[in-house]
């Protein structure tokens, strides 16, 4: 399933790139809307980059199960011999590999655009790598709940946004702490704990939600 998803993603590179382009484009709006002054941007950079990443992840979460739902693969997965949560986990992993990982790798570019102080980059990379994985996991629950609903995208954001908040808080704080020259290892550890918790909970919740969504 994982390999298949990755192959599919590779075939639809356009879809895959859209959230990333969104990520960069919104970042250019910030200086236009606020101020091009480096000092002012630097203050906001950690928070803004993290909010952008969150929105980009949210945007792409909708497509997590949508394709499989439309072509019936999901129906087959429900009756497949493997437990459903394994498949869900595979799909989430694929989602992170085509979304979260590139996003993390692109974040230094945004850091430069928003004049993030140099001390923040390691924390930015580390927190986004952990954080986007947690976001993918949480987004999967929302995506599973809304997959059977037409125009579920907006609803998905409404549902998932409150669940994203702890990740945002700790992710952005880690970067901020790094910029301020403080130790941020503890904050990253909490982010890791959130991720571990999400790994334990989310595949089961999403699998349950898929069953509910498809069969009532």
């Amino acid at each position: 399933m994982l390999v298949r998803d990755l192959r599919l993603a590779n075939r639809r590179r356009g879809d895959m790139a859209n959230p990333l382009i969104f990520f960069v484009m919104v970042a250019t709006l910030v200086p236009l809307g606020v101020s091009p002054e480096a000092t002012r941007l630097a203050v906001m950079a950690p928070g803004i980059i993290w909010v952008m990443a969150l929105l980009a992840s949210l945007l792409s979460a909708e497509s997590l199960f949508a394709g499989d739902y439309r072509d019936g693969t999901l129906e087959q997965a429900l009756v497949a011999p493997q437990p459903l949560w394994v498949l869900v986990l595979a799909k989430i992993t694929a989602h992170w590999l085509v979304m979260g990982l590139p996003l993390t790798l692109m974040s230094p570019l945004l850091g430069i655009m928003l004049s993030l102080p140099p001390a923040g980059y390691p924390a930015l990379l580390a927190s986004l790598a952990l954080g986007t994985a947690a976001l993918s996991l949480l987004g999967a629950i929302g995506a599973a709940l809304t997959v059977a609903i037409r125009r579920g995208g907006l609803l998905l954001s409404l549902i998932v946004m409150p669940l994203y908040m702890p990740v945002l808080i700790f992710g952005a704080s880690a970067v901020q702490q790094a910029v301020d020259g403080m130790a941020y290892g503890g904050t990253l550890a909490v982010l890791g704990a959130l991720l571990a918790f999400a790994v334990m909970l989310s595949p089961f919740a999403a699998a349950g939600a898929l069953r509910v969504g498809l069969h009532g």
């Binding site: 629950i141 609803l155 409404l158 549902i159 409150p162 669940l163 702890p166 939600a209 509910v212």
Partner: protein, 249 residues
């Protein structure tokens, strides 16, 4: 009567509809008495706060509403869980009224909090840990309600709402802890929100009355909502037809 028997009877919408009809007058009376007593006491007789003056009287509505808003989420989630696991009809039916009720109470506590904040701190809104958490709770409620309305199949709506409510329940402590942590990180020096000072008994007693009143109100509103939901869902059953028959003929 054994526990399982009791459980099954409680789960029967018909039994609940008939039994709750008998409870309602008592519950309504208790709610009315407690709320009126608490309101008159709190508005007229409790002493004004030394620092905040009379604006502090908002506490008598703000705190009970916040209490029930939070407890209401657990009521909703537990109802959802019981509905999911044991397929108890009554619990499934309770989800929707509980969500509406909880969202409304959260709104009340946010609204009164803002109006209390203006004379006390000079601003309607502060990004304080408790206020922010309350806002997140409001969003969680809205999510459940929105999901409910989005499904065309009623059963799917109920179960999807239940799954979301359960996920939310697991997340509430995490969200609260992280918001708390975030707030201590950014605590602004100018605004210091002190913890509720040890209250004078003369101020505290009406608050207890109001909290009890709100609990009764919550039960009352939930039962009313549940009864409407029961009639709507069971409208094709024989007992509801007989019920109308009695009234109509």
């Amino acid at each position: 009567m054994t526990f399982t028997q009791w459980f099954h009877r409680l789960g029967s919408p018909r039994w609940f509809y008939q039994a709750s009809g008998k409870w309602l007058p008592w519950l309504a009376a208790a709610t009315l008495i407690l709320l009126v007593a608490g309101l008159v006491w709190g508005l007229g007789f409790a002493p004004a706060d030394a620092k905040q003056g009379n604006s502090f009287r908002i506490i008598y509505i703000h705190v009970p509403a916040a209490f029930l808003a939070l407890a209401g989420y657990y009521v909703m989630a537990v109802a959802g869980a019981i509905g999911l696991i044991w397929k108890m009809k009554l619990a499934e039916m309770a989800m929707r009224p509980a969500a509406t009720l909880g969202a409304a109470l959260t709104f009340i506590s946010l609204f009164t909090g803002a109006l209390w904040g203006k004379p006390t701190w000079g601003t309607y809104w502060v990004w304080d840990a408790r206020i922010t958490s309350m806002l997140v709770l409001f969003f969680l409620y809205l999510g459940v309600i929105a999901l409910h309305y989005a499904y065309t199949s009623r059963d799917a709506a109920t179960r999807a709402g239940a799954v979301l409510a359960l996920v939310g329940t697991v997340n509430i402590p995490i969200i609260y802890k992280s918001v708390d942590w975030w707030y201590t990180l950014h605590q602004p020096a100018t605004i210091k929100l002190t913890e509720a000072p040890t209250m004078h008994p003369a101020m505290f007693q009406p608050l207890v009355v109001m909290i009890l009143g709100f609990y009764c109100f919550y039960a009352l509103a939930l039962i009313l909502g549940l009864r409407a939901e029961i009639l709507h869902r069971e409208r094709r059953t024989r007992w509801v037809r007989e019920l109308i028959g009695e009234d109509a003929v």
